[in-house]
Subunit: 200 residues, 2 copies
DNA sequence: GTCTATAGCTTGATAGAC
DNA sequence: GTCTATCAAGCTATAGAC
């Protein structure tokens, strides 16, 4: 196989999501990706730190594209936001509350302990917030209100992942989705914007 | 000193808050608490797992009591909720974005990897939600609405800790506080309840 | 590019003197 | 209760054959 590098990153992303950075050993990653430790250092000479930075960046991009696809596929932004939370809740239930945000656990671990990796997570969240803000504005949320609403949306999603994983119950995610949907709807209505379509 | 056990727990709590479970070694804890590894196993024969369970439980209780004190000291529940978020933002700024939730990082690490510790974190969050719900009801939020609003409040606080620590900027916590305060105010107003006092 | 072997260190945990 | 010595296992990282 020539996609060894991909397999390593995929295995690392899965372990980071479920156990975090410190608890994910290189031998474990090597085993899970069916790549030897030699291959691992061939593709990532910088070792664990380089592998982590690359994995976080890639996971962040993939997750952003997923959310963008969900929102852009909806007839209006209110529905799109609802679909995001519904999808997150469904993914949690289907995976036994293991498949959640690929960044959050590592981000909390490194925030005060590894400045280089902290900056990587900062860039990822900043990119997510820009993407969400753009879509809120496109959907009719006033530009003055969109950045704050994007922050609330992302914090609700992350808080929902935390509470739902801990309780092994996605009810929290459902409640948060309903709340954020209401906030978005109100922001759109208040602007006098008629939610219309940009699909196809 | 006879409070060796306390020092061990305090040092563990600080390390868990800033680095999480897996990255906090027993030798590091031993050093930070000026207790030898022998003392550590004397007080916690179950090793790291027992120390973690005890530390999380104690930190969870202390944090709950802190939030309760802040809310109960305010003239009304809307102000109390605002004080909570303001206090969280201030603590973040004052500590260089290191002092945040003592449970969240560990909770995400163990949610899918250590069932015993996951249950400990589940009990802590459940206790927090009961406490917040009680105070919302006392402050005039309808009983039918209070549990959901408590979930939103806690998720916003946790999401705010994550985004603020990652960005080394408490602006997210400020935005989330303002949003939750509005939600609580609306829930109180909508119930026809006049925010009145229970202090002194 | 892949694989094995291994260095050097740290981890969680135990034993036993004091 | 405290301390030190030590164990086996794990870790990250490197070297070198293939």
């Amino acid at each position: 196989m020539e996609d060894t590098r991909e397999r390593i990153i995929d295995a690392t992303a899965a372990l980071f999501t479920q156990r975090g950075y410190a608890a994910s050993g290189l031998k474990q990653i090597s085993g899970a990706s069916t790549a030897t430790i030699g291959s691992l250092y061939h593709f990532f000479p910088g070792g664990k730190a380089e592998l982590a930075a690359e994995t976080l960046t890639r996971s962040g991009q993939a997750y952003q594209e997923l959310v963008e696809a969900v929102i852009d596929a909806a007839p209006d932004v209110v529905t799109g936001v609802r679909d995001c939370f519904d999808g997150a809740a469904e993914t949690l239930r289907a995976s036994g509350y293991a498949d959640a945000c690929p960044i959050a656990t590592v981000a909390l671990e490194v925030a005060s302990a590894d400045e280089a990796l902290r900056q990587v997570t900062e860039q990822i969240f900043a990119s997510w917030l820009r993407s969400i803000t753009d879509r809120l504005v496109n959907g009719g949320v006033p530009e003055s209100r969109a950045p704050e609403l994007a922050t609330v949306l992302l914090a609700a999603l992350e808080g929902g992942f935390l509470l739902s994983r801990v309780a092994k119950d996605a009810a929290a995610m459902d409640v948060l989705g309903a709340t954020v949907v209401d906030l978005v709807r109100h922001a759109v209505d208040g602007s006098g914007f008629v939610p219309e379509r940009r699909r196809t």
